[in-house]
Symmetry: C2
Subunit: 217 residues, 2 copies
DNA sequence: CTTAAAAATGAGTGAGTACTCACACTATAA
DNA sequence: TTATAGTGTGAGTACTCACTCATTTTTAAG
């Protein structure tokens, strides 16, 4: 259920029954695997086809081009993944005063993103790699960041600065330092050194403590 | 002089006169540009040749394969860049007691790496992108990190923990938090948002302060 | 069963790829 | 001048790539 949750995001329907053949699922599975391992450009459609036990033409029945296959894999994790969860789950709760302290918010955010990435590390690797070269991905990424993440974070930081919990620092700098530590942790954990023996709970706690020391009033 | 310092690193000789033709220099220049802009796999040798105003055969006169050209570009920045400066400049000075405080060391390190990357951002982008897929690069990176950076940092941290300046945290965690903030700053500054209007001196100072808050005893 | 639509096939296509090689040019030194 | 070695050339080669399409197989409803 949890392991293949991404496939539902890619298909686009969670509840309704949606036609998806075994072969289509295998194409996606193999494509994600290979794109993450060897890179989009170094993976041929014929290779995806043979490893998925499918004819090459079958890929192009479902996806007009190879790039469309890439975007089908990457876009849901980008849009349904990054933006809404931060907005709805976190921000709403914060202003509903579920979180009394910035530290609680930070802890929730880090755990939440950790859980999200656990089952999507390969897709995220593809996303980070290819964002550099495909304008479609890059534009989406920048738009989502500035319209959602950045705006919401600005509000949250102002909120907790007003409550006297945070240093009065330039907002951009606070966001940079905070995201750098969070993203740095997640990227190190899931992409650079996924094999290292982490005690994840401890690392999360240390990271929260580290960020808080630098930002609290 | 400073802008094309990388070419000396690539040729391998700083002092001695070393034969390098105009065309060879143009090949390197164009290759770096294109690899950084569009990625190694998406850049063809014929394209490099035409943009450098050179016949395609000329590239293969100097570099047996396309990959050899990539490694020629990337290896010097990896070896002559990352490892020795940290080792010689920083570590030596630290144990010569030029740095009384961890904060001074941190400030020096950040400024030093900042200067280093300023003229090598495109090469560093290529390095980070391609390290994921080329074992030659990846192996070098891991070897240099564990044998140099990691070992030296371990000593330095122990040194300042003994002096009572640093929290007694697990060394691995301290290194992770510290490097995450440093690398995060440099990558954001030079690769993700090079066009953003940074006040670099201020950002360096804030980053040093942020790291120190989280690590000092 | 019949039948029609949907899914799947895989040989085929043309464009593009990294790389080669026989030849030409140029510079230096005898 | 001639000899030699390094540099440069670009048409040519074998191959791989993403993508097509006429055909076959599978699915599902009547």
């Amino acid at each position: 259920m949890d392991e293949k949750q991404w496939i539902m995001e890619i298909i686009g329907q969670t509840d309704k029954e949606y036609k998806i053949t075994d072969k289509q699922a295998r194409i996606l599975e193999v494509a994600i695997q290979e794109f993450a391992d060897k890179g989009y450009s170094n993976t041929s459609t014929s290779e995806i086809a043979s490893k998925a036990g499918v004819a090459e033409g079958t890929i192009f029945r479902h996806y007009k081009t190879k790039k469309e296959l890439l975007l089908a894999i990457v876009t849901p994790t980008l849009t349904k993944g990054i933006a809404p969860i931060i907005e709805r789950t976190c921000v709403k709760d914060i202003f509903n005063k579920e979180y009394e302290s910035f530290e609680d918010f930070l802890r929730f955010l880090l755990n939440n993103r950790y859980q999200f990435l656990r089952s999507r590390a390969p897709i995220m690797k593809i996303l980070l790699q290819e964002a550099a070269f495909h304008d479609e991905i890059n534009a989406d990424l920048k738009r989502l960041f500035t319209n959602r993440v950045y705006q919401e974070f600005t509000k949250i930081i102002a909120h907790f600065q007003d409550k006297g919990q945070l240093k009065i620092f330039p907002t951009d700098t606070v966001i940079r330092l905070m995201l750098t530590s969070i993203v740095g942790f997640l990227v190190t954990r899931f992409i650079i050194l996924p094999g290292y023996k982490w005690d994840d709970a401890v690392e999360v706690e240390n990271t929260v403590a580290f960020i808080m020391s630098g930002l609290k009033a």
